[in-house]
């Protein structure tokens, strides 16, 4: 059982969290033409890195979405960052 630090609630068991996406993906503007390749990359292409991975997670208990950088080899959590850092004291 891993433990993740929610930026708002502190250290909690991994069962309270939900993985959302790898960080850094931007949704293409679908009001403009997007070719199939570009769109399918957005849907399906993930880096799934061995080592440092920056990801978007949600803490289900408080419903806050945050960024977490972790090491996928030794499971170390390297950094967490609230999506709204400037509003969090």
């Amino acid at each position: 059982m891993q433990q993740f630090p929610c930026p708002y609630c502190g250290l909690r068991n991994e069962t309270e969290f939900h993985f959302a996406a790898e960080s850094g993906k931007t949704r293409p503007d679908t009001n403009t033409p997007i070719d199939d390749k570009h769109w399918s990359d957005y849907l399906y292409q993930n880096y799934n890195p061995k080592g440092t991975s920056k990801e978007v997670w949600m803490h289900l208990a408080c419903r806050e979405v945050f960024l977490m950088t972790r090491d996928t080899v030794n499971m170390d959590v390297l950094e967490v960052q609230a999506l709204r850092g400037e509003h969090h004291d």
Binding site: M1, Q2, D29, L43, L60, V65, M75
Partner: protein, 929 residues
């Protein structure tokens, strides 16, 4: 082996006799005995049969490393299988049977299998029983090779085990002298310390011993350390096994006092872990080294010190190092004749039939009934390895030692190669500094691999010999993981605890590689077998997954509702005591002819507010929601980015900054999370706010031809005369707010009335009372399912699957007309989404009265050309039509209207007709009836 009980030695309580039976024969032991020590005291020498050849075997180990003596044990009404004799405490009334021997280990009628051994090398089963089909041979082989037997009843599955979650600063595993000293040092440094040991008594190899520790009697030294720990507030837990290390410094502990007592699983989060798990003997390889009477020297010492069991009358010592200097003296003092065998004088071989009789070395022959062996010491490093610690091969000592590892873990004492007492205590005293071991402190006598004649057993329980390992190497199963699977080495109950190192050395020799290059198999938890019931604890049934309860549950029970689980909620399925199908038919007809009352409280109610709420919802929904004005309701879908329907429901516009998302009852949490994720990651979360108010509002639905009259007969503090279908208003109910929405899931005039949950009972009773003149009656979820299917209203996840897009359900409008971006939009324009071969929602009708099976396939072609083109998603008997109806997803379904199709289910076929997915009220007149 003619083992016997010494008259005074050992820590058993000779005042307390413990009666038990072994294969029906009455025997007795003492309090403090294990099953193994009690059997040895009673002169039992053959206690197990090996797995493959049914060779007779005696006890070999001191505790969990024992590979031979496993038993089926009955205590009272409880039955336990494959209990390890050396680690199972003896209890009064135990009925003990050896396993894998018939009728008993001593008289095993399959013992003759051993004569066939030359025809049964490693891989024998794989090679021999391939054609025509392994499954033909499997039952008889399993019968022959099986271990303990479950008797099919009286299992201990019902005994409730407990789970505990806790943390500690420093966990010390092993309460031998290394562990006691390390725990003492950690506690002295101010750490919150927990010391655990899997044995019932502390002291490790010094328990019950006469030796000195730091010039003090060992028992006194141990007692002083324990008292000091207690004084400093450290906790000591005995009979507790640390069996696994998991992510983020979680250690799993299993605590159980004895076989029948309640077990406890402790999930412990630690800051520091000190591993003081000691070491065991590596078996010496020589011909017939598996004869009963040959055992680990460490084990024989434990038997003597703990239980007063003397391993034999004439004991040989074949010890390949100087780690047990005092053994000879100890056993002589205990009354045995001791013969020291110098392994430098050449290889030895054991002789005897079913029991050790003599040991030969060159021309020398010793008459012996017991031989204590140790090729070297093997540190117990399973936890270290699980924690991510590396192992390195120490060539001089022929053993694995800890190398680099995580900073939060420390290995001390003999587990780290500090084999002498002084080195051991020194390493514990300075555990944080990771004192390196001294290469000179321990010496292996004989470095040569033993190449004499006869079979040398590597894995005792699974009958793997040195020849089997050579065969595996010849057949190129040289990787340790392949070797393990090919020969079954290390796959027995003891998981290779005694056999691993010998196997690696033999493989290195066969492949001319250094041992370090052979590598090891991975150490995985659990370290010792743990019962599944312990992992489960109390987490089963309602305690595992408690249903959500309605505020009106008592009211439903009062009206004899059959309560079932729907999407996590305990809801009325139907009311009354008659057969369910009659009840459902009656409820459906009641809703179609009069007025019905439905508890719709679980319906998802998610409030979305804020200046950007409108734009946000228009992006989230497939349908155009931007044009929705205050008081309007619109049905719509939410899609995933892959264009697949994620949820359906209605959106209510309360005002331009305040919307109400109504989603599937079982899906409210999922939709809320989905909305939150899109709100925070992609929108400005300061301008959109989301609240899930599902539990705060109770919702009752009245539906049917008399619904409007009933509503108008009551005072809602607001005019309902002009409230049209898909409109919303707010009024008051007994001074409390009420939300009224005209939304229909039955096709008939319906009002969804929501009040604060505290007012649910009041509303329920008022509606039943005011509804009397209209003959109101409650209906359950089963009737609702039929009512909605009659109208072709879908349930997401039932009538849709992971490929269903909105156009497949007949909702292509927004795809053509909506101009703003929305989730999943681009996916709806992919080639596959636009293709002609999509599964589309249709109705299916069939003659007769019998509904189709849900899941039945719609097929084309005959016999081997038969192909599924879709399947039935919902199927009911419609009392309104007095005929069966069904919904189905069918390839190109929209083009197949009125075509005959074949419906196939479990070998039978029916002819059916494809229709529009609406069966009742095709013109939509009911909605304002």
């Amino acid at each position: 082996m003619t083992s016997f009980r010494h008259t005074s030695w050992g820590q058993v309580d000779r005042q307390k006799s413990i009666p038990f039976t072994y294969h029906g024969k009455a025997m007795s032991g003492y309090a403090g005995d294990t099953v193994a020590s009690a059997l040895m005291a009673n002169g039992e020498t053959i206690v197990g049969r090996s797995f493959k050849y049914h060779r007779p075997r005696g006890f070999w180990g001191a505790s969990w490393e024992e590979p031979n003596g496993f038993f089926d044990i009955q205590v009272g009404q409880q039955h336990f299988t494959n209990c390890q004799g050396t680690s199972t405490q003896l209890l009064a009334g135990m009925s003990i049977q050896s396993i894998n021997g018939f009728p008993s280990a001593r008289y095993d009628i399959k013992g003759g299998l051993d004569l066939l051994q030359r025809f049964m090398p490693a891989g024998f089963y794989y090679k021999t029983f391939m054609a025509p089909d392994w499954h033909l041979f499997e039952p008889s082989i399993r019968h022959m090779a099986g271990m303990g037997r479950l008797n099919g009843e009286n299992l201990h599955a019902d005994s409730l085990s407990q789970k505990q979650f806790r943390n500690v600063q420093t966990l010390v595993v092993g309460a031998g002298i290394a562990g006691l000293e390390a725990a003492y040092q950690a506690a002295k440094a101010g750490q919150r310390v927990l010391l655990v040991d899997d044995k019932a008594n502390p002291g490790g190899s010094y328990y019950g011993g006469q030796g000195l520790i730091e010039e003090q009697a060992s028992a006194d030294w141990i007692a002083q350390r324990l008292a000091a720990l207690q004084a400093m507030g450290a906790e000591v837990m005995l009979s507790t096994t640390a069996f696994g290390i998991y992510d983020h410094q979680l250690v799993a502990l299993a605590q159980q006092d004895n076989l029948t007592s309640t077990s406890k699983l402790i999930k412990l989060r630690v800051e520091h872990l000190i591993i003081a798990t000691g070491c065991i003997d590596r078996p010496l390889l020589f011909a017939n080294n598996d004869l009963p009477g040959i055992c680990s020297a460490h084990a024989a010492r434990t038997w003597l010190q703990s239980y007063g069991i003397v391993a034999g009358q004439r004991i040989g010592l074949a010890i390949n190092h100087r780690g047990y200097a005092e053994l000879s003296k100890q056993f002589t003092a205990a009354g045995a004749e001791v013969v020291d065998i110098n392994l430098n004088n050449g290889p030895i071989s054991a002789h005897g039939w079913r029991q050790l009789k003599s040991v030969k070395q060159g021309r020398q022959q010793h008459q012996l009934d017991s031989l204590l062996t140790s090729a070297s010491l093997t540190p117990v490093l399973s936890l270290w390895s699980q924690a991510g610690g590396q192992l390195k091969w120490h060539a001089q000592w022929q053993t694995m030692l800890p190398a680099d590892g995580p900073a939060w873990c420390h290995v001390v004492g003999s587990a780290a190669g500090h084999f002498g007492d002084a080195e051991c205590l020194h390493s514990s005293r300075h555990y944080a500094q990771r004192i390196p071991h001294k290469d000179t402190a321990f010496v292996i006598v004989n470095q040569q691999p033993n190449d004499n004649q006869g079979r040398q057993w590597v894995d005792f329980q699974n009958d793997v010999t040195s020849k089997d390992i050579a065969l595996a190497a010849r057949e190129n199963y040289t990787s340790v993981e392949h070797l393990k699977r090919y020969t079954t080495l290390g796959m027995a109950i003891d998981q290779g605890k005694s056999s691993n190192i010998n196997a690696l050395m033999l493989m290195a020799e066969c492949t001319n590689k250094p041992v370090a290059a052979v590598g090891t198999t991975k150490f995985r938890p659990p370290f010792t077998p743990q019962p599944l019931s312990m992992y489960r604890g109390k987490s089963s049934g309602k305690l595992l997954n408690p249903p959500k309860r309605l505020p009106l549950e008592q009211e439903h029970r009062h009206m004899q509702a059959a309560l079932k689980e729907y999407g996590g909620w305990l809801r009325p399925a139907w009311y009354g005591t008659q057969a369910w199908d009659q009840a459902v038919n009656q409820e459906v007809l009641h809703a179609r002819t009069k007025v019905a009352l439905l508890d719709a409280t679980p319906l998802g109610k998610i409030e979305v507010m804020g200046p950007d709420a409108k734009a946000f919802l228009n992006f989230v929904y497939y349908n155009n929601m931007a044009s929705l004005t205050a008081g309007q309701i619109r049905y719509g879908f939410m899609l995933t980015e892959k264009g697949v329907v994620f949820d359906d429901g209605v959106l209510t516009c309360i005002n331009n900054h305040h919307y109400l998302v109504s989603c599937s009852s079982s899906h409210a949490d999922g939709v809320e999370g989905w909305l939150e994720a899109w709100r925070q990651d992609g929108h400005n979360p300061e301008r959109i706010f989301i609240h899930n108010t599902t539990a705060q509002w109770a919702t009752l639905t009245i539906t049917g031809p008399a619904a409007k009259s009933l509503m108008q007969s009551m005072d809602w503090g607001v005019d309902l005369d002009n409230l049209a279908h898909m409109q919303f208003t707010q009024g008051s109910f007994k001074q409390h707010p009420v939300r009224i929405a005209r939304v229909s899931f039955t096709g008939h005039t319906s009002y969804e009335i929501s009040v604060p949950s505290s007012q649910a009972k009041s509303l329920w009773h008022t509606l039943l009372e005011q509804g009397k003149p209209f003959d109101i009656a409650p209906i359950g979820l089963e009737a609702l399912s039929v009512l909605r299917a009659e109208k072709g209203f879908i349930i997401i996840g039932k009538d849709t699957d992971g490929e269903t897009m909105p156009q497949d359900l007949g909702f292509a409008g927004p795809l053509r007309n909506k101009t703003q971006a929305y989730i999943g939009d681009r996916s709806l324009r992919l080639e596959k989404a636009q293709g002609t071969n999509r599964q589309q929602l249709v109705g299916i009708t069939v003659n007769g009265q019998q509904p189709l099976a849900t899941g039945a396939h719609i097929v084309t072609g005959e016999l081997e050309n038969k192909q599924s083109i879709g399947y039935v998603t919902s199927s009911y008997f419609s009392p309104t039509l007095n005929a069966p109806i069904a919904l189905a997803l069918v390839k190109n379904g929209h083009q197949r209207m009125n075509q005959k199709v074949t419906v196939f289910n479990q070998g039978s076929q029916l002819i059916a007709t494809v229709t529009q997915p609406t069966f009742v009220d095709l013109e939509g007149n009911f909605i304002d009836a």
